[in-house]
Symmetry: C2
Subunit: 311 residues, 2 copies
């Protein structure tokens, strides 16, 4: 992969929501069909397991994580045919985390994206196993030779992915979240918890583009920091949405955080305070994109989109 390090100077423009929407839609369909192709077809004795894996992963979502990976990779000239597999892998890992999070012993959510959650559609045992197998498949896809990346690049992806999603990342964050329920956490703990629970995987998604593109250490670090800040903005915006949007807009129960006494950014900072915090980390994310010039406009648009979305 030859690197096309951008040399343009910074151009920060007004966000272009229409272009972003179009681009996200186009990328999301490619990611969707890539996931479809990378999951086994339904047949044989384990049909129910495969059904559940497909149910949990296909047919929904904006594919934020996958979009980040594909778009960051495109900064280095990595073709979508290659980065879409990495995007599919991170979306499968995200899906597994939602399936397990929704279980009765965890958040006990009956609905997900306006549909029955996986354990409601199937049963708990199937949901546990489908989540387990989705995690395995996510790693398997990164290792597969048809990622078209060298073995060194694939190892780099797998290590960063594991770091972001394991006990020191996403799963560690879920654990802190479970333990924090019902007691008031201070702001720095809430920040730390979300940096792990949702931030790490979003950060990895942007960084994965840099890894695929064999970016310089500096550009990789910048995309990593961009991703971390996008992750923070995303979570704060989620808290604001939970407090302000209707259930119809969200496709899930609204006002759930306040009802459960959860420590959120809104509970700690108020709605305006939380919006200011979201704006602050969004600006920090955008600042990291300076060396990429206009090539990174979609990533800038995305930063604004994350805090302005209504669901």
């Amino acid at each position: 992969m030859s690197m096309t390090e951008p040399t343009q100077t910074t151009i920060i423009r007004a966000t272009d929501a229409a272009l972003l929407k179009q681009d996200m839609g186009a990328r999301a369909s490619v990611i969707e069909s890539t996931i479809d192709a990378l999951l086994p077809p339904t047949k044989g004795g384990d049909a129910r397991l495969i059904d559940a894996m497909r149910y949990a992963t296909l047919g929904g979502g904006k594919r934020l994580r996958g979009y980040l990976a594909v778009t960051a990779a495109s900064l280095f000239g990595v073709p979508e045919s290659q980065s879409a597999r990495v995007a599919a892998s991170v979306e499968m890992l995200h899906a597994y985390s939602l399936v397990h999070d929704d279980l009765p012993a965890m958040d006990d959510d009956d609905m997900r994206r306006g549909q029955p959650s996986t354990h409601r559609k199937f049963d708990e045992a199937t949901a546990i196993l489908a989540g387990d197998a989705l995690q395995t498949r996510a790693f398997e896809i990164l290792a597969a030779a048809h990622t078209h990346a060298s073995a060194d690049v694939r190892i780099d992806l797998i290590q960063s992915f594991a770091e972001a999603s394991g006990a020191a990342g996403m799963v560690g964050g879920q654990m802190i979240d479970m333990e924090g329920e019902g007691r008031a956490l201070p702001l720095d703990e809430v920040r730390h918890l979300h940096a792990l629970k949702t931030g790490c995987l979003i950060r990895y998604s942007a960084e994965a583009g840099a890894i695929l593109g064999q970016a310089s250490a500096d550009l990789r670090k910048r995309l990593r920091a961009y991703g971390a800040n996008i992750g923070a903005a995303f979570q704060i915006a989620d808290d604001v949405l939970d407090a302000t949007a209707t259930a119809e807009e969200l496709g899930k129960t609204a006002g759930k955080d306040e009802a459960s006494g959860k420590s959120t950014f809104v509970a700690l900072l108020g709605i305006d305070g939380a919006r200011n915090e979201a704006a602050r980390v969004t600006e920090a994310a955008i600042a990291e994109l300076a060396p990429f010039g206009a090539q990174a406009d979609r990533l800038r648009d995305l930063a604004y989109y994350v805090i302005e979305r209504r669901n």
Copy 2:
């Protein structure tokens, strides 16, 4: 890694149980301390998660899978310091599968190796997350540079590991097992189910030694077939033990299979028929070791040990 392809002719000797016991004990302590070193220490906000991961993985078991990996690798001169990490990784994956298998929505087992199962010692949410994080850590360890294997070898390990443990392997087998409960399965389905559920990971363990040792395709295939047969023997012996051993010998409830109406080798073939089937696959396993000569004597001993053990 230089290959030391054995040139001796086949020597099948009487099994040496004492030597095997000593060797397994020595390897098990190395594997135990390697797992200990590769799991994070307990501290910080996720202490409970780490505690549960350590509880589920450390302090128990004969480390059959790890022993296979280390011993198969030693046939090619791979030092224990290197293969023990791969052994630790497969034992972590095995531990995650037991933690999830024991959950109330799955087999609902309160005890494991004479101790409370992880969700009984902690709680269900912690057990789900600890299992999830153990799977992640298992892949992370294989990817880590300090495995001292080349990136190509590490990728090969990860691909084979994922194949053995995902929807087309271990997890797929667990699903078929769950779905088969309460109805009579024919013998070929029982064989298939166990080949997936327990066989794949045991097969991988032996094959991992060949991958680490960069074995020829033929020797790798032989170790893979040896492992698959050992896996089958192990499961049949398990069914026989469940029907014949006491709870005290097993460290868990005995006679559980018959009580739950499970399709086992014993139910299908009777105790003597099951013992004959175990002997048959054990001989098939040993036949694969011919090219390794006396160097593979511990693997031969292990084949007999698997069907003669009392717990």
